[in-house]
Structure formats: structure tokens, C-alpha cells
């Protein structure tokens, strides 16, 4: 099988799994709340319904409002082509490394924030302001955690980081790795809008960050943005899973290896989703001005990760 088919295949797998991941987390949370809840495939039904709905656009909005969902969706899908979801080495590994992934996601956030400002609604402005604040404060942590990972390998290339852990399994428990995992986990909570940073199912506008920016969207645009948010969650989880515990990732591109890789990916996603569900059930949302405390804690963890990698090389 040609390695160049791998990239679109990864994109397709990611697109198919992402809503299921969100649905699975919702299902687990429902069960933890002692109720039946919607089935894990509910987000697929919601997406199908949204694509069939009418689109209402504000009279104050410009072309940017209609273009932004495509840019957000496009950047999220492009990222899935660059991360080691199924196999290493990646055919597009020479085009983008971990830094490109982080900044492509920031591109999506940038346009979503602009789209929040466009209709002139105060909720959108508030969401944009808060989202950019959280994103800006999460950047140094992400960069340092990336460098902690890259330090051992000597490169920020994703395929190489994953391969290194595959070839020397004891690396996975190196203090630098573990600390970097903790740091990136906290950043995941911030970037994907989960508790304690942002409540994905809140209705109170003053408590919203991500949701506030999309209050004006309807129909297919909303579907694209929800799908992109699910993809972002999947990307962060697969980074956590496949960079720190890459077993299952295919090193040869055969149908059997790829199938096994998809299965292990799904298992890792479910495991991380379960952790998130437990975390969200146990803690309350942090006040916005206490989120920097959380992000500083993750920055310290990332700093320790870099120091540990450096000291124990």
C-alpha cells in the first residue's frame, strides 16, 4: 500500500472517530450521574441533523463569519494528517512537526475568535477575549512540554518521538516523559474546553468560553465547528496516547497493522475519555481568573520535565 494513502486514511479515521469520542465521554458522564443518557453515537445523529437545518446569519456579520467554520474545520483536519494516529513514519512528517500542529490549532482558534467578534454580540466578544487569553497562557506550557519530549530524540518530528519510545520502552517511564504527560494533560483540558477550565454543557453565557463564540452559528456551520472541536479533542488525546505510549502504532503499512493500530487507538481514546469523565464528575469549574493558576502549575510541570530530560540524558 502506498504510504501516501496513509495521510487521507488517517484523516478519514479521525473524522469518523471524533464524534464517537465525544459521545463516549458524554455517555460515561451520564452513567456516572446515575442516569441512562444518550447512546454513544448521539453526536453523529446531531451532526446529521445540523447539516440538514437552515442557516441563519446575523445581518452584522461579514464574509469572515461564513468562512471561519471552514478554516477551523480545515486546520483541525490538516492536523490529523500530521499526527501519528495510525502509523509512523508519516508521509507528511517532513511537512509538519509538533510545533506546526500546535500552531495550526492556534490558527483555528484565531479565526473562531474573530468569528465570535463579527456579529457584534457581547457574548461573542467575551468568548473571543477569554479564549485567546487561555490559548495564549497555554502556549508556553505546550512549547516547553514539546521541547522536553523533543530533547531526548533531538527533534520535534512527531514520527521520531513516537519511534524513539517504541524502540526503547523504558523511555516511557522516564521522569521527563511522565512530567511532560501531566503538563500536556492539563493543557488538553484548557485547549479543548473541558472542566475545570470550561464547561462544555453550560447554558450560562457568563461561564462560557468556547460555547460563547459559537452562539451565533447554526446549521452546517455549527456542524463543522462542533466536528472540529471533536477533532481537536481527538488530536490531543492521540498525542497523549501515541507519543507517550505508542504501542499499537504501525511501523509497517499493511492492512493488518493498520487495523490493529486503529483498534489500539480507539482503546487509548476510550481510556483517556474515561479519565476525563471521572475528572469532570469530581471537580467544579474554576473561576476564569483562577485558570492562570492551573496553567502556571502545568508550566511548572513542563519546566520540570525539561529539566529532568536535561539532567538525565
Amino acid at each position: 500500500m502506498s504510504p501516501w494513502l496513509l495521510a487521507p486514511m488517517q484523516g478519514a479515521v479521525a473524522l469518523m472517530l471524533a464524534p464517537g469520542l465525544v459521545g463516549a465521554i458524554r455517555w460515561m458522564k451520564a452513567r456516572l450521574q446515575s442516569r441512562e443518557g444518550s447512546p454513544p453515537w448521539q453526536p453523529y445523529l446531531e451532526l446529521r441533523k445540523l447539516f440538514a437545518k437552515e442557516v441563519v446569519v446575523s445581518s452584522n456579520a461579514s464574509w469572515l463569519f461564513r468562512a471561519a467554520p471552514f478554516i477551523v474545520f480545515g486546520s483541525a483536519v490538516t492536523v490529523t494528517l500530521l499526527v501519528p494516529l495510525l502509523a509512523v513514519p508519516l508521509p507528511l512528517g517532513g511537512a509538519g512537526d509538533l510545533l506546526v500542529v500546535v500552531y495550526l490549532l492556534l490558527l483555528g482558534t484565531f479565526f473562531l475568535a474573530l468569528a465570535g467578534l463579527d456579529p457584534g454580540s457581547p457574548f461573542g466578544g467575551m468568548g473571543a477575549s477569554r479564549e485567546m487569553t487561555v490559548a495564549a497562557l497555554a502556549e508556553p506550557t505546550m512549547a516547553l512540554a514539546i521541547f522536553a519530549l523533543a530533547w531526548g530524540v533531538g527533534s520535534t518530528n512527531l514520527g521520531q518521538i513516537a519511534s524513539r519510545t517504541l524502540s526503547t520502552p523504558s523511555e516511557a517511564l522516564a521522569p521527563g516523559h511522565v512530567l511532560a504527560f501531566a503538563a500536556i494533560f492539563l493543557v488538553t483540558l484548557a485547549e479543548t474546553g473541558r472542566l475545570p477550565v470550561d464547561n462544555p454543557s453550560t447554558h450560562l453565557e457568563l461561564t462560557m468560553i468556547h460555547e460563547a463564540m459559537i452562539l451565533e452559528y447554526s446549521g452546517r456551520y455549527l456542524a463543522l465547528i462542533e466536528w472540529a472541536a471533536a477533532l481537536k479533542l481527538l488530536v490531543f488525546f492521540s498525542l497523549l496516547g501515541n507519543l507517550f505510549a505508542p504501542w499499537g502504532v504501525a511501523s509497517v503499512i499493511t492492512p493488518g497493522a493498520l487495523l490493529w493500530a486503529a483498534v489500539t487507538l480507539a482503546l487509548k481514546l476510550l481510556a483517556l475519555g474515561g479519565v476525563i469523565a471521572l475528572v469532570e464528575t469530581h471537580i467544579a469549574k474554576l473561576r476564569l481568573f483562577r485558570v492562570p493558576e492551573l496553567l502556571s502549575a502545568s508550566f511548572i510541570l513542563a519546566l520540570l520535565a525539561v529539566t529532568a530530560s536535561f539532567l538525565l540524558r
Binding site: 446515575s34 442557516v55 447554526s218
Partner: protein, 170 residues
Amino acid sequence: MGLLSKILHTGIVTEPLPAGDSEVVHLVREVDAEARRLFGRALGIREVDAGSCNGCEVEITGLMSPVYDSERFGFHFVASPRHADLLLVTGPVTRNMEVPLRKTYEATPAPKLVVAVGDCARSCGVFAGSYAVVGSVDRVVPVDVFVDGCPPEPAHILQGILTALRSGRP
């Protein structure tokens, strides 16, 4: 781990929904087949309080509780009418809420349904004749289903929404 053991001890408490009661739930207009097909399994609900005393709101909050669990039918409450498919309206429509209710309806993308909850929504209930109310919700926005009660039980509200979705068919 006190919380976790409590969760495991409690288990799933969702009760099965009893059959519909036509005394309480009234289908006013037939919902077209396309909307029914579209919303059958995934429905976004926006709750609009058009001047109610909040008794109905307390019951609607019960809809999201583990006992009644509206989510198992695919319903979820949304933060903006742009995300909504169904408006759940309560209260006699007061003069001040007439325009906001209409604006909420206009902000909702088609196809859309309206379920009016409570005696006030149908006939202004105890506020009938007051200078501050406009009248039944049907006078402001086209209603598909009325659910009687002051306040109606969460089970009846669920039945009302399901009736709107199935248009009276089981």
C-alpha cells in the same frame, strides 16, 4: 473516593416513561414528515420563559435530572435558539416578553417546533384578564403542542415533546 462509591451504590435511577395522556397533552397542528424524520433521534431544545412564575421551570429542570433523563431520547438543552430545533415556552406571554419571544422564534432556524408548557401558556392560567399579559402563546408564535398542568409533571412535558415529534403516532 466517597463520591465514586456513592455513585456505584446508587446505580441507574432513570424511570421508564409512562404512556401518553391525551387529557393533558394536546397536539394542535400536525408536524410535517421532514421535521419528524430529522428530529426523531436528536433534538435541541431552547427553553423560553415568557413571564412564567417559574413553577414550570422547576419541572423542566426535573427533565434533566437522572429520574426523568430527557437525554436518553436524544434531547439536549441548548444555549442559543440558533442551535435549537424546539422551543419550550412557558408562562402567559407578558407584554414585555412578547417581542423577545417572537425574536427567539425568528432566531431559530427552520424546521422548528414549539411546545407550550403549562396552563398559563395555553390560556394565561391564573393571570387571565390581567393588563400585563398578551394572551396564549399561540397568539405570538405558532404552537404545535400544548401541555396542560399548573405545573405539569416532567413526564407529561416529555410526552408533550414526544407527541410533537411523532405527531400523535406512537
